[in-house]
Amino acid sequence: MKIENSIIKKLRALLGERLIGVNIQKERRIFIKVTREAFKETIKNLVNRLGFKHLSTITGIDLGKELEVIYHLSYKGAIELSLKVSLPKNEAKLPTVTDVIPGALLYEREVHDLLGVIFEGHPDLSPLLLPEKWPRDVYPMRKEENLESLRKAIFENSHVEGL
């Protein structure tokens, strides 16, 4: 737990008030939350100063009024830090991290496809998982979509008969 505590201490010194929530759940599992403004700076600090070189994945969650995006970063393959940031649903935008972590390229596209978060500065946000003919405003992982409405979205936009 020593390393975990020292990481949090360094983050507190770097971010101050903008670090909203900290939870060291257990050994090798840290959850932190930052404000949207401080997000890019936090990622840069984590990658360049604190040694979180590996991005495991990006998760997006629909929490009703807002969306939460979680970046799962790992420190030397061992400590998994989950960095959370909340976005209002009507303005779901985040700066891209592909300039800091090139490996985020596909993960950002996945979150864009499924939850409609726009990553500003991403080189190519064309559909990755969804079909080309998928309607623009339907995001499958949002809570207002259920299996019935998704089936309808597929059916109405499919060129294959009887699907």
Partner: protein
């Protein structure tokens, strides 16, 4: 059919690969831009097999989801259920009994042996060494039989449950498993010699599909792909789960950064897995194999990681106190390796595409056909399987 090829000799041609490949567990489509014979740009397009599993997780109870997690993948089914069970156990605040943890390790390592020997066979097939492919797959049956003996199943072992494992490894099985491992070890030693000495293998794989150490790190590669670029990174050692913190083993790395290193890493990992299983069988503690857990899961979140045969597998779970998860996220190792794969493919010859694609182990076993499109003339023509093979083996 060959007309277009001759006239557009110097032009940039776009070549779509995929998405349909009968033996590929995750259909993927890659569009290659080629100049002559050299790949100058790669654009991956995945999602052809997107089944909406994450959405389906939200509609089902925690126990039903166990069966869903099993079916995410047909080759590393045990890795997914281990990861799922660990995430939910984490949310519930319980731990699997020690004996269950050892059984999880044994099944996971048997699965790694079967997955790696499957891949090694495919790699041999991709470079046209079909004899070795047949041998690998024949001997892979030994480990499949062991898995069937333990679990009753060859593909979806259905061993894990929330709070432990569903079946015990009985004492009369232990000598049979050890006998199977002895056979496998002998065979794999022979194949290791072949891989190291054979001229065909070294000519087709050495210096092919280079992924430098820095690129592997930056592009967040995982598993054997990362370890073949000289980075010592393994979830089993770095972030131990199940009983891996009690079992001694080595993390295999090679620094060739090419397909040959990826073959060698996986070959040696089979020996490491055999050693782990032997140790686990000798030191397996007595006791119960599972504990009963409640249906409803208290609110919370958990990140669970497992070293699947293909690399780091990560699951994220969030519960809201009901019997169904609020959000469940799965990131399989193949997705993590795709940016690295695109990097490896840049500058390679068309003939090396299959082995490089296979190099990250997406089980790229069989190529139906590819369509060539001449951008300028908007003509299309198709290569048959035979033509592709002929071109591959040149």
């Amino acid at each position: 059919m060959w007309r277009g090829f001759k006239t557009s000799y110097r032009s940039v041609i776009r070549v779509p690969f995929g998405p349909q490949h009968p033996a590929l567990k995750e259909p993927e489509n890659f569009t290659f831009e080629i100049d002559g014979d050299i790949v100058i740009n790669v654009k991956p397009r995945i999602g052809y097999n997107h089944r909406g599993i994450e959405k389906a997780f939200e509609q089902r109870t925690y126990i039903q989801n166990l069966y869903l997690a099993e079916r995410i993948c047909g080759i590393c089914s045990d890795a997914h259920t281990t990861c799922y069970a660990q995430a939910i156990e984490d949310l519930l605040g319980v731990e699997a009994p020690p004996r269950a943890k050892y059984i999880r390790v044994i099944i996971a390592e048997l699965e790694r042996i079967h997955s790696h020997s499957l891949w090694l066979g495919i790699a041999a097939h991709e470079i046209g060494f079909d004899t070795l492919f047949m041998y690998y797959w024949r001997d892979r049956e030994a480990v499949m039989n062991l898995l069937e003996m333990i679990s009753g199943n060859r593909v979806h072992y259905a061993m894990n449950t929330i709070g432990g494992v569903r079946r015990d490894i009985r004492s009369e099985m232990i000598p049979k498993i050890k006998k199977g491992l002895d056979f496998l070890e002998g065979r794999m030693k022979r194949y290791m010699e072949i891989v190291k000495q054979d001229l065909t293998i070294s000519k087709r794989t050495e210096g092919v599909g280079i992924l430098k150490q820095k690129d592997a790190m930056d592009l967040c590669a995982v598993g054997p792909t990362l370890r073949a670029s000289g980075i010592k990174n393994d979830v089993r050692a770095d972030d131990p789960y199940a009983a891996y913190d009690e079992i001694p083993f080595n993390v295999i790395t090679y620094d060739g950064c090419d397909v040959l290193s990826r073959i060698l890493v996986r070959s040696e990992e089979i020996f490491e897995s055999i050693r782990i299983i032997r140790y686990a069988l000798d030191h397996i503690p007595d006791g119960m194999t599972r504990i009963r857990v409640p249906m409803a899961v208290p609110p919370g979140e958990a990140v669970s990681r497992v070293e699947a045969p293909r690399g780091e597998l990560i699951h994220y779970a969030r519960s809201d106190g009901t019997t169904k998860p609020e959000r469940y996220k799965v990131r399989s190792p193949t997705l993590g390796n795709i940016p690295a794969l695109c990097k490896m493919l840049l500058g390679c010859h068309i003939a090396d595409i299959p082995i490089i694609l296979a190099g990250i182990d997406p089980c790229f076993a069989c190529m139906d056909r590819i369509t060539f499109i001449d951008v300028r003339k908007d003509e299309k023509w198709v290569w048959s399987m035979q033509q592709l093979r002929r071109h591959t083996k040149r």
